[in-house]
Subunit: 290 residues, 4 copies
Amino acid sequence: MPSEADRCPSRWGEGDERGSANLISPSSILEAMKLVKSGEVFELGEVLSRDPEVSYINNNRVFNLYTKTTIPQPDTRRSNEELVITELGQIGTQLDGFTHQMYGDSFYNCFKYDDISGRYGFQKLGVEKIGALISRGILIDIAGLKGVDTIDPDYMITVSDLQQALQRQNLEIKEGDAILIHTGWGKHRGRDNTLYGSSSPGIGEEAGQWLAQQHPLLIGADNCCVEFRTDQNRNLNVHAIMLIQHGIYLIENMELAALADAGGGEFLFIAQPLKLKGATGSAVAPLAIR
Amino acid sequence: MPSEADRCPSRWGEGDERGSANLISPSSILEAMKLVKSGEVFELGEVLSRDPEVSYINNNRVFNLYTKTTIPQPDTRRSNEELVITELGQIGTQLDGFTHQMYGDSFYNCFKYDDISGRYGFQKLGVEKIGALISRGILIDIAGLKGVDTIDPDYMITVSDLQQALQRQNLEIKEGDAILIHTGWGKHRGRDNTLYGSSSPGIGEEAGQWLAQQHPLLIGADNCCVEFRTDQNRNLNVHAIMLIQHGIYLIENMELAALADAGGGEFLFIAQPLKLKGATGSAVAPLAIR
Amino acid sequence: MPSEADRCPSRWGEGDERGSANLISPSSILEAMKLVKSGEVFELGEVLSRDPEVSYINNNRVFNLYTKTTIPQPDTRRSNEELVITELGQIGTQLDGFTHQMYGDSFYNCFKYDDISGRYGFQKLGVEKIGALISRGILIDIAGLKGVDTIDPDYMITVSDLQQALQRQNLEIKEGDAILIHTGWGKHRGRDNTLYGSSSPGIGEEAGQWLAQQHPLLIGADNCCVEFRTDQNRNLNVHAIMLIQHGIYLIENMELAALADAGGGEFLFIAQPLKLKGATGSAVAPLAIR
Amino acid sequence: MPSEADRCPSRWGEGDERGSANLISPSSILEAMKLVKSGEVFELGEVLSRDPEVSYINNNRVFNLYTKTTIPQPDTRRSNEELVITELGQIGTQLDGFTHQMYGDSFYNCFKYDDISGRYGFQKLGVEKIGALISRGILIDIAGLKGVDTIDPDYMITVSDLQQALQRQNLEIKEGDAILIHTGWGKHRGRDNTLYGSSSPGIGEEAGQWLAQQHPLLIGADNCCVEFRTDQNRNLNVHAIMLIQHGIYLIENMELAALADAGGGEFLFIAQPLKLKGATGSAVAPLAIR
């Protein structure tokens, strides 16, 4: 991690809480809209369930949903609800916000733990500050590049992999993009969650640094952590690079198979994080529209 | 409520679980996209907080968020999360799905309580079946029609009000629209929640029937219940008409002031409900884009 | 289950909500106190933890404890708490109250589901009505009778087993007793919870009926269900006999090994259920004092 | 707070986690049992409910109980449970354990925050280490001494008050006692919780120091905090004296009116904290038996 003097204030200025979301503007949205040609929608969020045969829940996290039902009465309208108990900012297909990660006691833009933490959410950098994420999206298909269903559980994606995949797909990264990385590993999610959770083949630190230099809006992937993580290597340096150093969002556990099967390419990307005051992130159900 | 023979199967056929969401198609999406002229975005979802000065929480419901923090360590990356406990399908700006309401033991399309209910979510009609709601949106500005900040707490909106407001705004309803009704009542939310929750000035049963006949995708409003509700009248007949009889979604507690101030009109509407398996609805953070 | 005419009102009269707890009186307490000879205390409750190597949590139930910590400040007093989320009436070493079980729509003393149920607890028969359970206790050592560490996972305890064990231990049952049955199966709890939860060797229906005729205060055991339960036989008839028909409490998942090792016999028994309004039971930490 | 060198190790030795609970022995229990003359039981715990007309819940804490019900089926036995969400260690009539309070980063017996804290409970000093609290109990009736229903909301009990009340009641404190202080303030609990929570008339620091020197097992009272607390004075020094410096337990929000009405005096005291691994305390339902 660079020194605080080197990384703060961020490129968005002292006190900024939104990082790369500042890249979104009416004109960038109009540009992104132009990518919609057929109106085809790809749902990139997974179903959330307590059933491990449906959803992947990280170790030590919970997703529990309890029906608050009312008993039917003849010829009477009645209501049902449900109580949900979960790490809502960090569950399922999830957007990582900036309070999710700190280095020492320092967050993105050098907000300090003692100044912003609290029992009931953070006072600064909460996910409610972000707003909707609307941008050009691109899918970098690493599984496609390698000609495999999924890359191996211990494979670390390199800068060269990213560059080759972009070339193969005739794509280039633009500032403000939602960059989605298809590893294929997501095929195990909801099918063999133990396997899925045991590893996260993904980008390494070098690839993360290179991506950050392209100034994307966010990096997403179809694995637990966007980045490479194994039982032996749990340092999550890319989390630190993106969320602390550069103010770039991450989206984990995405459903990218259908989009990859359909050729990926570029598209309109939209994600609507819930406005959970002071939260570290939000479960999301993002879209690609082509 | 019409007899089961009269209302089932629904116009979408026996076994259908998605109701008006069936109106969304690639071509309807392309049409809706054309409404974006300037790229201006309106956030229609409220911030969710346990603080009653920020968010309105219905009586008997909870929204609690607890930071799961880790203690900072020098020169070390660490993570924070949060535990959220809430009626997630029926909290804040919320999409009501079909299991939220039943008449006797019967839901939309005559699914039966004994067949589909369970302790941990419903087996049918869950919000995870809906997918993203993308459509043309229109704002019917009743407060504007009346020339007031907000309509009175005990005012019931009529068919004539809706028709006059549409005429005044030079708008017409099209099949598949997201119809948002600006009452102005939302100005009290987060400012005087006791007042806000004490009443829900909105459409009456007659207006609800008329709207249903236009075959919208959903009806939203800036009050607690979309429809008229007071302490004396809590029958919520419009809930029954929309969610049980016709399979049309509702969105409650919307933030519509900025959109109304900007002239409302027609726009691209997008809402991404969380894919909560078996849930009765979802908190949402919908968008209008013009 | 006998007909309602045959079982209601209960022997404690119409409207009674406390069942066998009515057997406790100042004089019965004084008698029970006389059993204390040495002041030796046996803790009969298990530790409650989310860690499966510590505690057994029934399938589909949760026990989650989250520290609500404050960050230390030099030379300053600060407080910590914890949030607990659990089926508190039915978790760990637990007292089953009368709303835990119903036959059709009918509970102990023929209270009816529609009359007493609610989303936030039952209006009648709640565990807060019981009060402390103070009585003579006896340990019937079935593992000791059989000369084994634990009876087999598919063994159903008979009336004859109970009678032989009592004779071997020179004990007799008295009205109002807390009868604790040592099967030895509890040795697996917290050590191999999968095995422990896979079966509940215990009393069968016949033995349950015989015990009920002795008018005990409660029946406890060192297994999940007091009574015999296997994957093939999950009818829990003894639950119905005790909780619905006779108004006799159950205590499950008890720690009885130390008491059995020390010879069991008779003792002062005390359990203090939490006064959870409308709950079906309570986690407890009961005592035997000799 | 004395220096660490002055207060550690505690009188129970380095590494001790049980503090005054070490005063309980078979002989002390036998002595306490002798105080039972008539078998009369006083329930000293309040009912726990989400209903503010029943129970007092501290600001920022929750007590929510949701019935997990099953739908009745004719001629079939079925089960009900409930989900409880609460600060279980610090709710209702509650035993404060040693991790509830720290001074700087230091707990009872100088255990350090960094060494023992965790997201899911404390590794040391958890309430599961205490065991049942069985001892002689005495009620010091300050309301009785003053001849009032309740002492004033801003009254701080002095050493002299305690000494006069003991003399008036012909009582003396013995080492290992459960000392219960009747202020009368508890009469407001469940009747006017806003008033009840607005103040805690109770012992001041001087009285706390004097009581600690008598080496009691615990101090309990019928107010929120055992000690004096007002909006202007929230230092809770007695918490620090008892829980951090001396290893003496506290019990808050007790029901003492009936016991005081019956003359108080000395009695057998029993409390069974739940064995919540790593928790800061436990809701309890203690007893006085005379």
